[in-house]
């Protein structure tokens, strides 16, 4: 039995205190908010302290901070099923009430149970989800390759169309800001492909000049990406990081608690 200090401390903070909190909370509703916030404080402080204090019980490979991370991966895995329950509830309701498009809910559930079932079979049969002992693909892998992959890459590829329509509509010289957006976008787009060489095709004598100009445009693109774009990104990142850091402290101190459904002063 591993009874390292870090291990015991984790169990105390995140099992014993919550258990006590649940027991007390049943009778006094006021504690139902306070004890989860107290536990949150400890959970949030551990990684921060661990960055600066390299003591083994805290930051070593099996110390409190990495171990809590391993714990939470497991908690997260449980959450997936939370979503599945909701989807099954909503779909069966649609089918039962014959809401519009209910046959598609049957399709959804069929896909869900077939793929999920194949995945569960993989775990129970100890074959896993990639290949069977004879080297052929498992049913799970087959569904992944034949259905999941093409669907995924096609929806992703729709972006090419949306880029074009969004650019056509948004890149208009409505005011100074929009004009800057337009020029930067146009220049970079032109600098990414041998556009000038393409335009010079009908005029062979111009081709060498076009090639040179094309390379210069490529350099300009690089400069825009590196310097003005890099500067703006740095500015956004610094500002956003300070905003995020302040939000983080508010969450750890229990000032920001909307994520638990708790309003102010509850």
């Amino acid at each position: 039995m591993n009874l390292e200090f870090g291990r015991l401390a984790l169990v105390f903070l995140f099992a014993i205190i919550p258990a006590v909190g649940i027991a007390l909370g049943i009778n006094s509703p006021g504690l139902r908010a306070r004890i989860p916030l107290l536990v949150a404080f400890f959970a949030g402080a551990i990684p921060i302290i661990s960055l600066y204090v390299p003591k083994k019980f805290l930051s070593g490979p099996t110390g409190m901070s990495p171990r809590l991370d391993q714990w939470l991966i497991i908690v997260y895995a449980f959450a997936i099923l939370l979503g599945v329950v909701n989807v099954v509830q909503n779909s069966t309701r649609k089918i039962a009430r014959r809401e519009s498009g209910w046959p598609f809910s049957i399709v959804l559930l069929l896909g869900l149970f077939a793929t999920g079932g194949a995945g569960i079979y993989g775990a129970i049969s100890h074959h896993g989800i990639t290949s069977l002992p004879d080297g052929t693909a498992t049913p799970f892998k087959w569904i992944q390759d034949q259905f999941f992959q093409p669907l995924q890459s096609t929806i992703f590829a729709l972006l090419a169309f949306f880029m074009a329509s969004a650019a056509f509509r948004a890149f208009r010289a409505r005011n100074a800001e929009a004009t800057i957006l337009l020029f930067a976008g146009g220049l970079v787009m032109a600098g990414r492909v041998p556009l000038l060489e393409f335009l010079a095709v009908p005029f062979p004598p111009l081709q060498p000049a076009a090639a040179g100009a094309s390379q210069a445009l490529g350099k300009l693109t690089e400069w825009i990406m590196d310097t003005p774009n890099g500067a703006a990104q740095s500015g956004i990142i610094i500002g956003a990081a300070l905003g995020a850091a302040s939000m983080a402290i508010r969450v750890i101190l229990g000032i920001e608690r909307g994520y638990l459904g708790l309003g102010r002063g509850e």
Binding site: N2, V107, L112, I143, M163, N229, I252
Partner: protein, 213 residues
Amino acid sequence: MPHIPGIETWIAALLTLACMSFLYKDNPFFRFAESLFAGISLGYFIGITLNQTLVPNLILPLHRDFGQNWDLLVPGLLGVLLYMRYVPKIGWISRFALSIYVAYYIGLDFTRRIHGEVLPQLARAIVPLSKFDSHTILYSLIFSVGVFSVLIYFFFSKEQDAVTRRVARLGIWFLMISFGAAFGFTVMGRVALLIGRLNFLILDWIYPMIGLR
């Protein structure tokens, strides 16, 4: 010689076309593909989570070496607590699991923001301007002016005066250059994705059918 592609190619090709039909308008084929996609993808992650997280991270460690890993029972229980939301009277119990999860990663994020973003970005913006050659002006000066003017745009709690208003305006211009450039820069990658799909449709599905290869 025409040669009919295998069932796998047909499934993938028809699903590809069904998805693309959404560009024209919503239709039953797209709706079928979309519902199937939602179902399959959710089932896929059940399989992945079970086989790649729960089995190797929870079940196997408990099974193989309980003494070393007994503490993993706690996250298992915390995971179960999430479902208490479905029991109306004691729904609040699920808060424990959520609050630990959120707070730990938010703490981790806090350190990452200060340590990994604010300080290194600040260090990057500190550039010597001792020489006034074209390189210094084109790269270093413009870079630091950009960083600081964007930061001034993000001041919320101070009313802007004539100077800060102009600097903030400059900051907005930098932002607009950045957004325009990033947009233009991305077109190519997205078109490559479409090329990939069209390659599949034309080279793997249509060509074999009409006897080209």
